[in-house]
């Protein structure tokens, strides 16, 4: 099974997908239109690239700071949470799922993904 399939089986996950770091491809499954999934993948990729730049800057200031390479990020809203680890994103309904469980699963499942963003 792919990680997207695994994620969709988790409680509260309404959509999940993957994007290419170079920005030319994305795929998704779940309760989003194709166009909205494209917008989501663009926003997720942009933020991922941004936090990688920030972590590199922090590393230059403080070598071995423990931030680089970043594994991912979360945006927690009142109803939904966007969870991104490596190049995989998912939308979680806060009432139905556990953020701790989801982050734990994603970090473990994607631990072996190379961090060079290719």
């Amino acid at each position: 099974m792919s990680i997207v399939t695994d994620l969709l089986a988790k409680p509260g996950v309404i959509a999940a997908g993957e994007y290419a770091y170079r920005g030319d491809r994305f795929s998704y499954r779940g309760e989003l239109s194709e166009n909205h999934a494209r917008v989501a993948s663009i926003m997720c990729r942009a933020t991922t690239m941004s936090v990688n730049m920030e972590a590199s800057m922090l590393e230059a200031l403080q070598p071995l700071s423990g931030l680089l390479p970043p594994r991912g990020w979360l945006v927690h809203g009142p109803g939904y949470t966007v969870c991104v680890v490596a190049n995989v994103f998912c939308l979680l309904d806060n009432r139905k799922g556990s953020i701790n469980d989801l982050v734990g699963f994603m970090c473990q499942a994607l631990a072996a993904i190379p961090s060079d963003m290719i």
Partner: protein, 133 residues
């Protein structure tokens, strides 16, 4: 007992800090100065201010584009690093805005070691409703 002190009681808490919307760090607590120092925390505060602003813009735009609700206002932004994560929030400012206050409290954040990070517990403290003076 301040919110910063409560954040420092979280499992794996390495540091907690307050910062302005401009990223300027105000108060802070550091548990392990050999792993996180003041200079690191200062740059981290600036990074977190930028990320919260961008995430807020994206949430606003996303809700307008899709018609979906439940993303705005951002409650927390979390950056998951290799060894540790940082969780930041400006939610208490929303209470002040709703009460018609012009002077807003600072943003707050906590650095947690990944192996013991409890993101939901951090959210719980950062979302706690404090009385608006």
């Amino acid at each position: 007992m301040t919110t910063l002190d409560d954040l420092m009681k979280l499992p794996g808490a390495m540091a907690a800090f307050e910062f302005r919307g401009s990223g300027e760090m105000l108060e802070h607590r550091i548990a392990y100065p050999d792993r996180i120092n003041e200079s690191t925390l200062d740059l981290l505060a600036h990074m977190c201010a930028a990320n919260l602003s961008i995430a807020t813009m994206q949430a606003r735009g996303w809700e307008k584009v899709t018609g979906m609700e439940g993303f705005y206002p951002i409650q927390e932004f979390t950056l998951i690093g290799f060894d540790w994560s940082v969780v930041v929030s400006g939610l208490q400012r929303e209470q002040y805005k709703q009460a018609g206050k012009f002077s807003l409290p600072p943003f707050m954040g906590v650095v947690l070691a990944n192996e013991s990070a409890d993101y939901e517990a951090a959210f719980g403290i950062l979302e706690r409703k404090e009385p608006v003076p």
